[in-house]
Every structure is written in structure tokens, then in C-alpha cells.
Symmetry: C2
Subunit: 177 residues, 2 copies
């Protein structure tokens, strides 16, 4: 997938997984607090020292954003309710790490899409980590393509119908998307 | 609606409208680049001088985040593809401004929900505006409750099925939500 299209994997607001590798082992966390920041592949996530993954993010300045589908929801919740400090989450949740091209953080084979990212800034005051996508992958062979959106109260919304408004939106969308 | 629940209006990533009042007139813009930053009503939006509303946001330090539903999609796109610099968008799109309690920016009567917000910081380097919700409203009488999520390429995803995982998520959700 062209890296300049990577923001379209995140803009709708799906729950995502963020993988890291601290040079000792792989880890992964679940995050719903994400934001696209530009049509370039620039994203923000809110996280901080309360997440075990944050230390690896800060140290390695790398991660992968993986997009799970609705059939993975209970796994996604499981990943988000235990800690990498005492759990090998890839093993416990039977996720397959796949080597990326530009970062040591692993892609997740079971996910619909993966974006290799570099940490380009951390806004400490607000616990915002600014990421730049450097490579993106979309698994067209993945049968289930619906992602899932956290409401924040323990409920989730599954992707429904798709509506095409490309003509009306032409003035706002970069050419070629 | 309790202000502490306001983040649940945004966390799933719907397209939102942001209203401002620059002490001369009301304005409103469409935004998809939003992020919840805490279980408190703390949100980020990405915007900057390229949006006409940004000057009002910076000057008044106030806005309202309004959540439209899918039946308003073409209006939402219209609002997002013209500028308040030469258009009275409330008039053109027949939106009804409603007086808020804490801010001069108007609520939008036709929307499913509204959140009065104060601008508590602007991270200039990244064009991130940090907002704190101070009052929230949810229109239970609104028949259509499905929101819509921008993919970023001119297509949109409508809310589909809802899944309840409150039990599994209990350890992550503040009490009472």
C-alpha cells in the first residue's frame, strides 16, 4: 500500500494495536486515542508512562500501528487489559510477529493492515506521541474487513455501510487518493 | 448529559462540527482529525491558520463540538468544503444556533450531541488544539443516532452494529460509565 494512503487506515477512528520492540522482546498495546494530523502519514497517539509500551516508544522511537478487524475484538480487549510488564502478549494471544522493513517493532500477521512508524516527537505536557508512517501494508486476502470503534464505556461500534462522496469531496482530497 | 461522559461522544471517531463565535458572527467547520486524550473531557483537534475558524478559536479560546448523524452527511460535507470567510454557513445550511451556558460559540440544534469546550492549549508546532469539555448535551429525541466516520479518501463509514464488552473492559473504564 502506498504510504501516502496510510492515513486512510486510521482516520475513521478504529481501535488499533501498537507494537514495540525494546531490543529484548516484542510488546503490543491496544489504543483508541489516535488522530490523523495531515494528509501526509502523520499521526498522534495519546499515551504515557502509565503504559508499559511507552518506555519502548521513547527509547526506540519506533512502533507499528496494526489495524485489527471485528472478529479479533476479544483478543484486542485482552491485549488492552493486561500488561507487557508481566505478559508475553504475542505468545498469550497467539499473534504472529512479522519483520518490518524500517523498524524493529513487528507487524502483526493477523491484522488487516500495518503501518511502520517513527516517533518524530513527544509532546510531554499532553502525553501526545507524534508518529510518521514510513511503510504501510494492507492484507487484501483478509476476509473480514470491518474494523471496530471504541465508544469508551465498554461498548464498541462495528463498521457499517460505506458511502462514497468522492465527487463532493474532490476539493479537499489530495489528487490520486 | 454528564460532562464526564462527553468523551464517549468522540472516542469512536465520528466526523464532528466545530462551531465558533468571533464576537461578530457564528461559524462552523467540519473536522475528522480529533482525539480523546483522557477519561476526563480532554480532547485534541488538529487545525491551523489554513482554517478560517482557527482565528476565532485562538482569539476566543472557546468552541462547541457538535456531533452530526448520517442523515446530515451532505450538509456536513458542504460545511467542510466552503469557508466562513465568505459564507454564513449557519444560514446557507439552515442550521439553528442555540445559546450555550459557558461559551459564546453556539450549539447546533440539528445535531445529535453538543459539547461546550474551552481551548486550554495550542501546540503550535503540531497545529494541535487541546480542548476541555465544560458542558455536554445529548438529544435523546433525535431519531437517527448513527454517526459517520471519514475514511479520508472521500468515502465514509456509517455506524453499524454495537457490541457490549462492559464486563471484559471493567478494569479499564472509570466507575459509573
Amino acid at each position: 500500500m502506498k504510504i501516502r494512503k496510510a492515513f486512510t487506515l486510521i482516520e475513521s477512528g478504529p481501535v488499533v494495536l501498537v507494537t514495540t520492540n525494546d531490543r529484548k522482546k516484542n510488546n503490543v498495546m491496544t489504543i483508541s486515542w489516535t488522530m490523523v494530523m495531515d494528509f501526509t502519514p502523520l499521526f498522534a497517539i495519546t499515551t504515557g508512562p502509565w503504559n508499559y509500551s511507552f518506555a519502548a516508544l521513547r527509547k526506540t522511537k519506533e512502533c507499528v500501528i496494526s489495524i485489527p478487524t471485528v472478529d479479533m475484538l476479544d483478543k484486542v480487549i485482552g491485549l488492552g487489559t493486561c500488561s507487557g510488564s508481566d505478559t508475553d502478549k504475542f505468545e498469550k494471544f497467539m499473534l504472529t510477529p512479522v519483520k518490518g522493513k524500517n523498524v524493529k517493532a513487528p507487524l502483526i500477521k493477523e491484522c488487516l493492515a500495518n503501518i511502520e512508524c517513527k516517533v518524530i516527537d513527544i509532546v510531554k505536557k499532553h502525553n501526545i506521541v507524534v508518529l510518521e508512517g514510513v511503510a504501510a501494508y494492507f492484507d487484501n486476502s483478509h476476509k473480514e474487513k470491518r474494523t471496530v470503534h471504541a465508544v469508551g464505556d465498554g461498548t464498541f461500534i462495528v463498521d457499517g455501510r460505506k458511502i462514497n462522496r468522492k465527487k463532493l469531496m474532490r476539493s479537499k482530497i489530495p489528487a490520486g487518493l
